[in-house]
Structures are given as C-alpha cells and as structure tokens.
C-alpha cells in the first residue's frame, strides 16, 4: 500500500538470528501466513506485511527486542488489539511488529486508593469488570472497549460516550511504565496527584506509539454512579438538534453522555437493534444523566425542559436499565449496523465547535452528491466529535479513491470550521496529509524535535502521526490554515 521506505533496509536473517537468542519460538512469527493477520489494524484499506512479529511475554523481552532493533536500525511498530482506526498499528515493510497481546494481566486493583495497575494488553472493559465488585469502574469507554487494549488507549488518548463528563484517557491515567527505543525502562507519573518535572504523561498519552512502548499502566477508578437514565429526543431538523445540544450546556448541565444520530444512521440501526427510534426524525439525541437518584431526577427534569424548549418532537425517558441499554444499543452498534447495509464503510473522526454542527452536516450532504457516495452520521455531539461513515464498495473501481477524497474533504472542513482532524482515532497513516492542513511548518518541526528527544533515530512507528515537511510540500498544503496564513501580524522568517 505505502511506497517503499528507502530509509530502512533490514537483513531479515540477521535480525531473526538475534531475536532467537532470547525469544522462544512461540514468541516469534516469521512465516507469511502467520504475519498475515497483522497486516492492518481496524483501517483495513491500508495494509503492509511486516518482516516479523514478536509476541514477548516479559518486559525483559520487550527491552531486548527494542535493543536489538535499535542496534540493527530496524523499525518497530507496537500493537495492542489492532482496533485502531487510523492505521497507527499498520506494520512497516522493513520492520517488526511488537505485539503486547500477552501482557494481559491485571496486576492490582486497589479499592481504597481507587486505582488499578494493569499490563498494556488488558482490554478496556476488563478493567471495569475487575473493579465492579468494589463499586468502581474505569470511565473512558471507547465503543471498541470489549476488544481494545489499555496500551492502545494510552497511545491514542481514546475517548468514549462518557468522556464529556469524565474525560479522555489523559484525564484518567496516573502512571505509565515505558521502554524507550534504546531499551531503557522508566516510569512517568505516580500514584500521587502530580509528579515532579514536566508533564511527560500528557505528552506520551496520544503519542501513537511514536515515543516509547508502554509496558504498564496505572489508571484511576471512579465510583459507579448509583443510577443512570437516558433521555431520547427526536428532531425534525438537524440544526434544531444541534441548537438543543448547545442549550443543554448553556443551562449549566454536563450530561454523562450526549450523542446524536442522523436519519441515515437511524435507518441503518433500527432494523438491526429495534430500539424504537423515531424513523421520521432527521436527528435523534441521546442524553444520559448519572449520579444519585435525587441528582438524576433533578437533571432529567431540567434536560427535558430544555429539549422541549428547543423544539424536540418526541421525548422519551428510559424507565428501566433494560430500556436505557436498548436506547443506547443503536448508537453503540452504529458501525456494525452500517456495515450491514454497505459492503465497506470508511469511518471519519473530526471535531468541530458544536455551533457549526448544522453547517458541517449540510456540507456533508453536498459532498454525498459530489462524490456519489452515501454517508451516515453518528457523533459525540456533546464535544463536537463527528464520525461520518462513508459507504463504498471496495470491489468497485474508483470507489475507495472517492471515499478517501470525501473523507479528506470532511477533515479539511473540520479544520476550517475551527476544529481538528482527529478527536480520538489518531492521525496514524490515514490523516498524515491533513496534519499539513491543521499545522504549519513551525509546529511540525517542533513535533519532529519532540520525537527526536525520545527516539533520535526515528525507529518507532516511522511514517506515522507527524508528516515530513517534504510530504507536506508534496501535498501542497503548507502554511495554509483556516484559508489564510497563521499569525499574519508577524513577519515571516
């Protein structure tokens, strides 16, 4: 898929010989049929076979793998569950995939201190399951939580439905253990509320496997709310639904979740989950409240009032836990539901200021005509994070190229509207060109300097997340931001 990277040429035989010195046979995959399952992550449009896959079982092995690759100049791509949606875990053709799949132990759940220490290959949901007996849970809940790993969550700074109120991964991780490309292990953060020196934790979280390999994570656990209830409202007009979102926030309410689906998404999911969604609505809003029963009753009453005033057609409040889960089922199953009505879909991930929602949706409607492809919209409305699902058929010549161009236009519009090319899925390989749209040369150079501070020889996940200036120049989007030059008041130098 990607063009060959002239920067690296690996002598596989020499590499394999070195790896065999400390990796038992079951921890090293070399045959093509064994490598095949690793050729892509959740973004299946981009594929590449690695030279080898290492499945270490101990941190000492991780250290030895990294030392070996460092001394031989071999690229390394860390991998969790491979559910990433931006091609972040796509292998390097001259490199090794370092899978953390066997680091799947929950090392400690501390009830009194409300934290858990886990290995990076532990699944997100498993942490909440382990904490449940203590009335605690881990708040960030990506829709992929049954599969995705904490290591991947840290690398992508993943979010979920609850992050409007409870924050992203960066707000919920206390400490990580990291191994550098040179094979040096160190710890960042602590169980205390802050750590001495720079906030390297913030820098590492969301760094897409470019700065170090995470081998242990300490996460914050929070008390499980006594009750959660969801209000479902339908709107005849998308703009009205967008305004309703703003009105809820303006009323001083930060719901536990605030999600929207447009008509195309509802049409895809209703036959699949039978949640009782209003099929005539142009937009459906789901607003969750959690807390003590008293708190929830008070908040639900206020939300209902705001939604009525905002012109909702129909408002329903879940009356039982089963009904609450049913209301959510459609939103949670939106991806697979869309997957049933189209051979392929391309999931985008841009953020915009909430007030630009209606504008964005009408532009997407125009793009559907322009590219001749349908698009369903589901999004984290509360924080302006959109997930347009562009439907295409990979077997039709030209379809993927049009889907890709469609997606790029959405991302570039997100930046133009004051948002970002990614809210939670990361840049990976997918949005590398759009980085040139969001950032100008000085910032991209600064990112490269940050990278070099951790990984001087650039062996960790090369080609991902931060584009080369050369690439930006080729993409032709250098310096152009919001349609004009950044900091026009400053002289150019």
């Amino acid at each position: 898929m990607s063009s060959p990277d002239p920067a690296f040429s690996t002598d596989l035989a020499a590499l394999a010989a070195r790896l065999r010195l400390f990796l038992p046979p079951h921890c090293l995959l070399l045959g093509e049929e064994d490598l095949r399952p690793y050729e892509c992550d959740g973004l299946t449009a981009y594929r590449e076979l690695p030279l080898a896959v290492c499945l270490p079982e101990t941190e000492a092995q991780v250290i030895d793998i990294l030392r070996t690759c460092h001394s031989l100049g071999v690229p390394v791509v860390a991998r969790g569950a491979g559910t990433g949606l931006s091609g972040g875990a796509m292998p390097h053709a001259q490199g090794v995939v370092l899978s953390l799949a066997r680091f799947n132990k929950i090392l400690r759940v501390d009830r009194a201190a409300r934290l858990a220490v886990v290995q990076p290959g532990v699944r997100n949901l498993a942490v909440s399951e382990a904490a449940a007996p203590y009335g605690l849970y881990y708040a960030p809940d990506p829709s992929s939580q049954i599969a995705c790993t904490l290591g991947g969550n840290v690398a992508e700074n993943s979010g979920g439905v609850h992050c409007l109120k409870y924050g992203l991964t960066v707000h919920n991780v206390l400490r990580i253990r990291v191994v550098s490309i040179e094979g040096e292990a160190f710890e960042i953060g602590s169980e205390a509320p802050d750590a001495a020196g720079y906030d390297l934790l913030a820098l590492l979280i969301g760094s897409e496997g470019m700065l170090g390999v995470v081998t242990e994570v300490t996460v914050k656990l929070v008390p499980k709310p006594e009750l959660a209830q969801v209000v479902m409202a339908s709107f005849a007009d998308v703009a009205k639904a967008g305004d309703a979102v703003a009105a809820i926030i303006a009323a001083g309410i930060i719901p536990a979740g605030l999600e929207m689906m447009d008509k195309a998404a509802t049409a895809a999911v209703e036959p699949f989950v039978k949640a009782g969604y209003d099929m005539n609505a142009e937009a459906i809003l789901l607003c969750e409240s959690d807390g003590t029963p008293e708190e929830v009753a008070e908040e639900i009453a206020r939300v209902t009032e705001v939604l009525n005033a905002a012109g909702a057609n129909e408002i329903r409040v879940s009356q039982s836990e089963a009904e609450r889960l049913r209301f959510w089922a459609g939103r949670k199953a939106a991806f697979p539901a869309v997957g049933r009505i189209t051979p392929d879909y391309y999931c985008m991930d841009g953020t915009i200021p909430r007030k630009r929602l209606a504008e964005m949706l009408s532009s997407i409607a125009a793009m559907e005509t322009k590219y001749g492809l349908r698009c369903a919209n589901v999004f984290h409305a509360g924080d302006g994070n959109l997930h347009p699902l562009i439907m295409y058929d990979a077997s039709q010549p030209g379809d993927w190229e049009r889907a890709e161009a469609f997606g790029a236009e959405i991302l570039e519009l997100s930046v133009a509207l004051g948002g970002s090319i990614t809210g939670e899925h990361g840049v990976g390989i997918e949005k590398i060109n759009q980085m040139c749209v969001q950032y100008a040369t000085p910032e991209i150079e600064a990112f490269h300097r940050v990278k070099a501070a951790f990984d001087e020889t650039g062996l960790l996940n090369p080609g991902k997340a931060v584009p080369s200036l050369h690439r930006c120049a080729e993409y032709g989007r250098m310096h152009v931001h919001h349609g004009d030059v950044k900091f026009p008041e400053l002289e150019r130098f």
Partner: protein
C-alpha cells in the same frame, strides 16, 4: 503590549544568549528555583480573545489577570474548575506556567486537565500554536498540556485556551472533628462512594468537606454524612485557595503530593491535608534536615516540593524533587527542543536547565 515586542525581545535574547526571566504579575516569585536573567514583563500582553459559554472554552492572552477571566466566566455562571488563586494581579499565563491548582482539583482535575490549546513564543522567538478550542483533539503531540507546570522554561505563553465548566447549582460545607490519620481514612472511604465531594481540608483536628452538585444530591449526601455546617463556607474555601488560612503561615513550607491512602510520614509539623488525602502541607525547620522530607515523600510513592522558603534554602538543592537520570535526560532534550540556547527561565524548574 504587542506580541511582536515579546517576539523581538526573545529573538534578541536568543542571539545574544541572554537569560530571560519571564514575569506575569510576579505573584509567584517565591516559587521554584532562583530567579535569574533579565526581566521579560509579559503582563502588558493581555485581554480576553474569545469566550464561548456554550462551547465551554475561554481564550485569553498570557498577561490577562486571572481575576478578569474569572469575572467574565462568573457572568455566565461558569468557572475555572481547577480553582487557581486569583489574588492581586496573577495572570493566566503565570497560572498555567506554574501549574498549581486549588481545592476543587480533587474532583475536577488539575490545570493541565483544562488546557485545550496554547500559543507559545519558543526560545528562538518563533511563534508556535498547539491544540485549539475544541474539547477533543489528538492531532500531533499534546504540547499544550506539557506547557502546564513547565514554569516558563519551554516558551512564553502568548495565549491560552482553557476549558470551563458550569458552576454547581448547590454547595455546602460540613465539618468533622478528627485526627489526621482518621481524616485520611475517611476521605479515602468517602472517595470510593458516589458522593458529590468537591473539596476537602484538614487542619488542627478539624476536617472540612465541601459538597457540590445538584441541590438534591447535596442534600442527600449531607444527611448521609452528618457533620456540622460551617458559618461562612465561601470565606473558608477562599482562604485555602489563596493560602491566607493560618495553616499555610509557616516558613519553610513543604508541599507533599502523595498517594491519597499513604499514611502520615514520620515528620513533624503537619499543617494541612487537602485533595482527599493526596496533598499534605508541612512546616519545616530552617536548618532542619530537609533531605528527610524528600526521602519520606519518595518512600511513600510521592514527592515533596520546597514550596515557600528563603532563597538560601532553595539554593541548597532546589525546590523540586530530583529526577531519575532517564527522566532528567529527557527533560534536557525537551528543553533543547523548545529553547536551544537555554535562555528561558534557566534554573527556575531545575538547576540543570
């Protein structure tokens, strides 16, 4: 003050390798390593750039007084949830650079949790813009949050965007009589329950607990927890936020960040406990063995800051806990990445850079 004045000052300093001491209102001169270099006063670069209550953010220039930011937010019933002190002149740039949070930190998060974007003048006089004004943005490395608490060593904060939150509908404060050990036990026990606790403070046998949230939730928690209501909760929490409470009247004053469940270290002079047990304040003897404080904090899994102390003492081994070699090396390289000549606030964070 125009931004280009700051830019040209930094450029000139970079060329002549003149150390600069970035100054907001100077309300933090007591904090961190020794002050060195020519003063670069940035307080004139001020003003609120954008405020969107329904988007939950405010953007202000670095020199904007915090009081102005907070007053603007209050008009719309919103707040900076990390509750930084906003007395006499403190600026938003200094607030982010210092990275200190107030009483609500335990519930709401620290300064860094609310930084959405920054515009920086780096150590070569180059303008850099990271993050933005939206809640979720994972494009590129999160340099904005790295800046929080960096004490002006990575760049001059020209502009910052902070996430804001609605003020809670209801608030009440309860008081309990107990010793420090019991306070820590109770705070951790309550912390594991779904209670709307937004601040805690222990001093001299009394534990104050603030509850915030929906009226019904605060009332339900109040009847569950018992305790007495104090006379003037607002005045009380303000005295903690601004450190005018007698508990902070000590020099030197040590700030220990510890795991919330850590027992009380074997140290004399415990003055106060905040943040659900995780922040402990100690008064120390001027000529006492201050390594003992550092060792005690480290052995409990935390660290100690020599928070307020005479210069002579801060000189001795710095204000902040020593970094392990691997981290110190990373710090040096990051410092170089943003300030290759090492001219910005040298020695303010660590003597080494």
């Amino acid at each position: 003050m125009q931004l280009d004045t700051i830019v040209s000052a930094v450029k000139a300093a970079c060329e002549s390798r003149t150390p600069l001491r970035i100054r907001g209102a100077g309300s933090k001169d007591f904090y961190g390593g020794l002050l060195a270099g020519e003063v670069l006063d940035v307080s004139g670069h001020c003003g609120i750039v954008a405020y969107e209550p329904t988007e939950l953010y405010i953007t202000a220039k670095g020199g904007t007084p915090l009081a102005e930011v907070e007053a603007t937010l209050a008009e719309k019933g919103q707040m900076l949830a990390f509750e930084p002190p906003h007395f006499a002149g403190a600026t938003v740039g200094g607030c982010v650079a210092a990275g200190l949070s107030g009483p609500r930190r335990q519930q709401a998060g620290a300064v860094r949790d609310f930084v959405l974007g920054v515009k920086l003048v780096d150590g070569t006089g180059q303008m850099l813009s990271f993050g933005g004004q939206v809640m979720k943005n994972v494009a590129g490395y999160d340099v904005s949050r790295l800046i929080a608490g960096s004490l002006g060593t990575l760049g001059v904060i020209a502009e910052v965007t902070l996430k804001v939150l609605p003020r809670p509908v209801a608030e009440t404060t309860l008081v309990f009589a107990c010793d420090a050990t019991e306070a820590i036990r109770r705070l951790n026990d309550w912390g594991g329950q779904p209670l709307p606790i937004s601040a805690s403070f222990w001093h001299d046998g009394q534990l104050w607990l603030r509850l915030s949230g929906a009226r019904a939730a605060v009332e339900a928690a109040t009847s569950k927890l018992g305790g007495n209501s104090t006379v003037n909760p607002e005045k009380h929490w303000n005295s903690i936020r601004e450190q005018t409470h007698p508990a902070f009247a000590a020099s030197p004053l040590w700030r220990l960040a510890l795991p919330s469940t850590a027992p009380c270290p074997e140290l004399d002079g415990l003055r106060a406990i905040e943040w659900g047990g995780a922040l402990r304040w100690y008064a120390g003897e001027v000529d006492g063995d201050h390594q003992a404080v550092r060792v005690a904090a480290a052995s409990l899994g935390g660290h100690a800051v020599l928070y307020r102390a005479p210069e002579s003492l801060r000189c001795l081994d710095g204000a902040f806990a020593e970094l392990p070699p691997a981290l110190l090396a990373l710090h040096r390289r990051l410092k170089k990445a943003f300030d290759p000549q090492g001219i910005l606030n040298p020695g303010r964070l660590y003597a080494e850079f």
